[in-house]
């Protein structure tokens, strides 16, 4: 199986390393920045292509690790060429795009696998497994936290900082936990969110709080932020059910903590949480996708799941904008 990688940034490099753990071959690399693609291709023994169109005839699977605003066109091009697709999260910026992408892949009969990597983090996967098995009864209240510093903060021109290209923090980052909340507790009926960026335009960081109400009656609190001093990055989950409680991380901090921007280091690009594991979650994810592509597994996350997570994020953004609680299905474009 020949893999063609689009994008040689942090995620592209991470996926390339993960593909090395599978029998698949990284055959081609396309990238916006020449230098990055060359280095990555040289390492993997892959060919550098100037465009996706030039690479398509030479690969079986296209792995899209580009900025979000490029996903839709690249997925449509790969589907038209009959190639299976792996696409980084968030799937797209709009529901119009996610619908077109899913329709194109269905019509072409190709996989569209969305890299919602949190589903492959062992602590998140283990908690979901316990909940699905009924270990803690019916889920009532869930709390999810994902906060770090601003990605690519040395580069104000980065696509991360352009909501038209990234969808902003509430889509780019919080989509992880919106997807996880839905995986855990089912469909979301209503979203209420508050976002500090429009309220404090002078704030250096970006931060939002959202409350989800699921059709099951469960409620979920989601905290997301690019607001911490470098290099602090924290994720947390807490799931309270009628017959038990799951907490991560186990409580182990001091009664107060003060983390100031003034003390921060300066040479970090984007935080990828590090944890000492025999296999990193990105590799687990890519190996799973390899198994799906070779007919050995059903996908843990479908294109529909990827689209539903985007829809919750867009509803949260709409709620923060209007000050009203929003039903995700109201977001159609």
């Amino acid at each position: 199986m020949k893999i063609g990688l689009v994008g040689a940034g942090l995620m592209g490099r991470t996926h390339a390393a993960a593909w090395a753990a599978t029998p698949a071959t990284l055959a081609g690399v396309v990238a916006l920045e020449d230098g990055a693609a060359q280095a990555l291709a040289a390492q993997a023994g892959a060919v550098v292509y100037p465009t996706l169109a030039a690479m398509l005839p030479h690969v079986d699977v296209v792995d899209i690790c580009t900025p979000t605003y490029l996903h839709a066109a690249q997925v449509l091009a790969a589907a038209a060429a009959g190639k299976h697709i792996i696409c980084e999260k968030p799937l797209a910026l709009t529901m119009t795009d996610t619908a077109a992408m899913i329709a194109a892949c269905e019509q072409a009969g190709v996989w569209l696998l969305v890299a919602q990597v949190v589903r492959f983090f062992p602590e998140y996967a283990a908690a979901r497994h316990m909940v699905a098995r009924g270990d803690i009864g019916t889920v009532a209240v869930t709390r999810l936290t994902r906060c770090g510093f601003k990605p690519a903060r040395q580069n104000p021109q980065s696509w991360f900082h352009n909501p038209a290209q990234s969808g902003g923090m509430m889509l780019d980052l919080m989509v992880h936990d919106f997807d996880y909340a839905r995986w855990l507790c089912g469909e979301v009926e209503s979203v209420y969110a508050r976002h500090i960026a429009p309220r404090f335009p002078q704030a250096a960081g970006d931060y939002a709080l959202a409350i989800l109400r699921h059709t099951s009656g469960a409620i979920t609190h989601v905290e997301g932020g690019w607001a911490y001093p470098v290099p602090l990055f924290r994720t947390a989950l807490e799931i309270a059910g009628s017959a038990g409680l799951i907490e991560h991380p186990a409580a182990s901090s001091a009664p107060i903590g003060v983390y100031l921007h003034a003390t921060e280091a300066t040479d970090v690009e984007t935080a990828v949480p590090a944890s000492p594991l025999a296999e990193d979650p990105y590799t687990t994810e890519i190996r799973h996708f390899y198994d799906v592509l070779t007919g050995r597994a059903a996908p843990r996350v479908t294109a529909h799941d990827g689209a539903a997570a985007v829809q919750i994020a867009l509803a949260a953004i709409e709620s923060a904008r209007t000050g009203r609680a929003v039903r995700p299905q109201e977001v159609t474009a």
Binding site: S190, R194, I196, R199, I211, A227, S242, I256
Partner: protein, 329 residues
């Protein structure tokens, strides 16, 4: 100074018995309770005189009383005490309805007696440490807060805690007020809008009040703050619950955990770890402040108005649960 306790319905009254006795120059003059057996039990246990009725206790001329009745029964006792010219520390929440809280504040104002709301978190040493940093300007503007005051379902402690009439509600009534008050104190700003959602999945078959709740407050300053008030710590958790907040500020992140100063204790008899708190006693500092304010004839650090503001926030939260939309204050 002589202090009496009106009702021991709230379990905090037990702690206050020792707290009052620990204040130099203060005498715990007696207890009264609607339930004569309960009054007698605590009187015997603590070696304190007990009175046949609230009126009898007030007639014995205490300088001040602690009102620890069921939430919905605070108002008549506070009004009786005010009419007798006695200073009052009232258990939280001040009342179950905004009109009751307002009447209590007015009654004490008219009688010229102190009304303090029992918000011990204002006296928690970790919280005070951060209050100092905030007020000194070291953290800059506060943008957002993510806070939790989760606990176990208190039904097994006192049945009235889950009685919709006597308690006024469930988790929203029980656990919004502490953090709502702390946030008003930290931010020097009032709440303008409240969104809340609640459910009754935990203990769904056992109680009729809400047991899970999430609240998102908007402040006049522009700051946003969420409060998780759920009774989501199970009875087999290492402790009763806790109170934590993370503040996102101009200068960085601040985390506070009011009940983190604990020993982890593993006992053969218990078969599960327990957290034994060794931090400073916020209840003691609160009672000390009540006495000090009365002696100095100054308003206490936390007033009846503060209690009223918190009751208004809880009332707005219930309106939001019913409308599904944020409610203005």
């Amino acid at each position: 100074m002589k202090i009496g306790i009106l009702s021991l319905a709230h379990l905090h009254a037990e702690a206050y018995i020792d707290n009052v006795r620990a204040v130099p120059g203060v005498e715990l003059m007696g207890l009264a309770d609607e339930d004569p057996a309960r009054a007698e039990h605590f009187a015997r246990q603590s070696g304190t005189p007990h009175f046949a009725s609230y009126a009898h206790l007030l007639a014995a001329r205490p300088d001040a009383v602690l009102v620890c009745s069921e939430n919905a029964r605070h108002r008549p006792l506070v009004e009786q005490a005010a009419a007798a010219g006695v200073h009052v520390l009232c258990e939280k929440p001040l009342a179950t309805r905004v009109e009751d809280a307002r009447a209590m504040v007015a009654a004490c104002q008219q009688a010229g007696v102190t009304l303090m709301t029992a918000f011990p978190m204002r006296f928690s040493t970790p919280l005070l440490e951060i209050k100092k940093l905030l007020d000194a300007g070291h953290l800059g503007q506060v943008y957002a807060c993510n806070s939790t005051n989760q606990g176990e379902c208190p039904a097994h402690l006192r049945a009235w805690f889950v009685d919709p009439e006597l308690a006024g509600g469930g988790a929203l009534t029980d656990h919004i007020v502490h953090l709502a008050d702390v946030l008003r104190w930290y931010l020097h700003s009032e709440v303008t809008e409240v969104y809340a959602t609640a459910n009754r999945i935990l203990y769904g078959a056992e109680v009729t009040v809400e047991t899970g709740g999430l609240v998102l407050l908007t402040f006049a300053s522009g700051a946003i703050a969420s409060i998780d008030c759920s009774w989501s710590k199970p009875p087999y958790y290492p402790t009763w619950g806790g109170l934590k907040l993370d503040l996102i500020t101009e200068k960085g992140l601040v985390t506070v955990d009011a009940f983190k100063q604990v020993l982890t204790v593993y006992r053969q008899q218990q078969q599960r770890p327990a957290w034994a708190y060794w931090g400073s006693d916020a209840n003691q500092a609160m009672i000390d402040e009540f006495v000090a304010a009365i002696r100095a004839q100054r308003p206490p650090a936390v007033t009846g108005e503060d209690g009223l503001r918190a009751v208004e926030i809880v009332a707005a939260a219930y309106r939001s649960v019913h409308s599904g939309q944020p409610e203005k204050l």
